[in-house]
């Protein structure tokens, strides 16, 4: 067989496209894995996106998959597809650093549940991808808060990729992996997906097992796919979702991608707030967001103006994560090793978490119950919520992340401001969809749904992406 010439069409291909090429034997899994490993090892460090290459184990797995293809043994659409995992997921026998110096030599003797499920499905893990140290617990001040340095945005390397699933965002956008696995406690899948121009799905709390993943907040952590399209998110979620009796947070539910059962657009009411697409957004992004809103409206769904229930979402998330993270990392904090973290502000934030009293924490959790009820009530009037994922483009890597000034005059309406922390507190699923560019950097909208409405979110995402091509744009990656 002549050596296949791997081009950007492969590196930026969707799961279905690459799967078809593998099954029609355009190239072998081993060849594909070699090509992706070469690219990840060469370009990953340029973006500070690579934590650890797994070339050897990937090639071993690729040989197994090729043997299966020869025998027509079909495991899943992910069979033979190269992917990367955020470095908070345990991979047996390999360093799992959680992006933090104090854990640089940490090795586990079992795979995380999602890694195991993807392995059974035939997916090829080619690398661990970088992340904000300890997934940002304590509150980091600079994008450099990572063992691997600030993760750079493939669309503009002077800009940040977003966090804390920074490597998954950057590597997927740069075509270094076909998809990746990230995690979200409050925004860590949606934000890097938006900044890097990829499609990210935050599943309902408990739908995907967290066993073998670093815990930051037992009540908020979620693991999800970061991909090239809504449909790719569905294919990955089909594999990683499911019951896990060893994860106390497991919801006991599974996910089966069933686009045929998606509701017709005219049966759907989507709630949005005009202010989010106008004065709340950074001026340069408004035209892009308004165009995206027009596309959503053109899909034939009913729309209704709504406002987010009035709760202090940021303070709630910060208090709950602060208390739980301080408990999880108590030994690190009390031993003083927390001061080895790259971000000084983050280390102090983790220490301060020990000052949160039991009554403070329980009050936050009781208010969280009110938030969940308020969203149940909101979803009596609308089926989904729509808002810009982030109101700005990616910040410069040297910019402090807490430097934003409060608006001179308070906005006329809350709009859906705070939907990221709110959606996390309520355990709701969300999908982030690229919807344009501003100054060469991606912007994105998010659709949020009721618990376990992932199929519907994906259907809306797929419909949006059938009318737009933002998700197929490629950054100016040079070999």
């Amino acid at each position: 067989m002549a050596k296949f010439n791997f081009t950007d069409d492969i590196f930026f291909g969707t799961i279905s496209e690459i799967s078809t090429a593998l099954r029609t034997k355009e190239f072998s899994t081993v060849e594909l894995t070699h090509a992706f490993c070469d690219r990840l090892e060469k370009l990953g460090p340029r973006y500070n996106a690579l934590a650890l290459s797994l070339r050897d184990t990937a090639l071993k797995k690729a040989k197994e998959v090729d043997r299966e293809f020869k025998l027509d043994r079909v495991r899943s659409p992910l069979q033979g597809i190269p992917y990367g995992a955020k470095d908070l997921l345990a991979v047996k026998g390999k360093a799992t650093t959680w992006g933090a110096k104090p854990y640089a030599a940490q090795v586990f003797d079992e795979d995380a549940q999602v890694i195991e499920l993807l392995d059974k499905a035939g997916a090829i893990l080619i690398g661990k991808l970088s992340m904000v140290e300890l997934a940002g617990g304590g509150g980091y001040r600079f994008p450099s808060a990572s063992l691997t340095g600030p993760c750079l945005n493939p669309w503009d390397r002077t800009r940040w990729s977003g966090g804390s699933s920074s490597g998954p965002g950057s590597a997927t956008a740069a075509g270094l992996v076909t998809f990746s696995i990230g995690s979200e406690t409050s925004g860590s899948i949606l934000s890097p997906s938006a900044y890097c121009g990829i499609t990210g799905l935050r599943p309902t709390y408990g739908l995907v097992s967290r066993r073998g993943a670093m815990a930051l907040s037992w009540t908020l952590d979620k693991i999800g796919p970061m991909c090239r399209s809504a449909e790719d998110c569905a294919l990955v979620l089909s594999v990683i979702a499911g019951v896990d009796y060893e994860d106390p947070g497991s919801a006991g539910k599974s996910f089966h991608y069933a686009p045929q059962y998606a509701r017709k657009p005219d049966e759907i009411t989507i709630g949005y707030a005009p202010i989010d697409f106008d004065e709340s957004a950074e001026p340069s992004t408004r035209a892009g967001f308004q165009e995206a809103l027009k596309v959503v409206k053109s899909l034939g769904m009913n729309t209704k103006e709504v406002e987010i229930p009035d709760f202090p979402y940021g303070p709630l998330v910060s208090t709950i994560i602060g208390a739980e993270a301080a408990s999880i990392f108590e030994d690190l904090i009390r031993s003083g090793k927390v001061d080895e973290l790259a971000d000084h502000r983050q280390a102090q934030g983790l220490k301060t978490g020990l000052d949160i009293s039991a009554t403070d924490y329980l009050r936050a959790m009781r208010v969280c119950a009110l938030v969940q009820q308020a969203f149940k009530d909101l979803f009596l009037n609308v089926d989904f919520l729509l808002a810009p994922t982030k109101l700005t483009i990616a910040s410069k890597i040297t910019d402090a992340l807490d430097g934003g000034a409060a608006p001179a005059t308070p906005p006329k309406s809350r709009g859906l401001s705070g939907l990221i922390p709110a959606g996390n507190l309520a355990g709701l699923p969300a999908i982030s969809l690229p919807c344009g560019f501003t100054a060469g950097l991606p912007i994105a909208i998010s659709v949020v749904g009721r618990p376990f409405y992932e199929n519907h979110l994906i259907a809306i995402g797929k419909a949006f992406q059938s009318h737009t091509d933002w998700h197929r744009r490629r950054p100016p990656v040079t070999q």
């Binding site: 539910k253 910060s318 009390r334 502000r345 102090q348 934030g349 301060t352 403070d360 208010v367 009110l370």
Partner: protein
């Protein structure tokens, strides 16, 4: 942690604020502000904590 807290409270500490102490103070200020915001929410006595999300 306790030692750091005690040092930060010593008289005169404010005049010689190091970046280290400034970050710690800023983290504490944020915590105080957050707790004040949460305290403003009217909370019915019967409300139980949302320890696990249930659909």
């Amino acid at each position: 942690m306790l030692a750091i807290a005690a040092a930060a409270q010593q008289p005169g500490a404010a005049q010689t604020v190091t970046p280290a102490n400034a970050d710690l103070e800023s983290a504490r200020d944020l915590l105080r502000t957050n707790l004040q915001q949460i305290a403003k929410v009217k909370l019915p006595m019967a409300t139980e904590p949302a320890c696990h999300f249930k659909a």
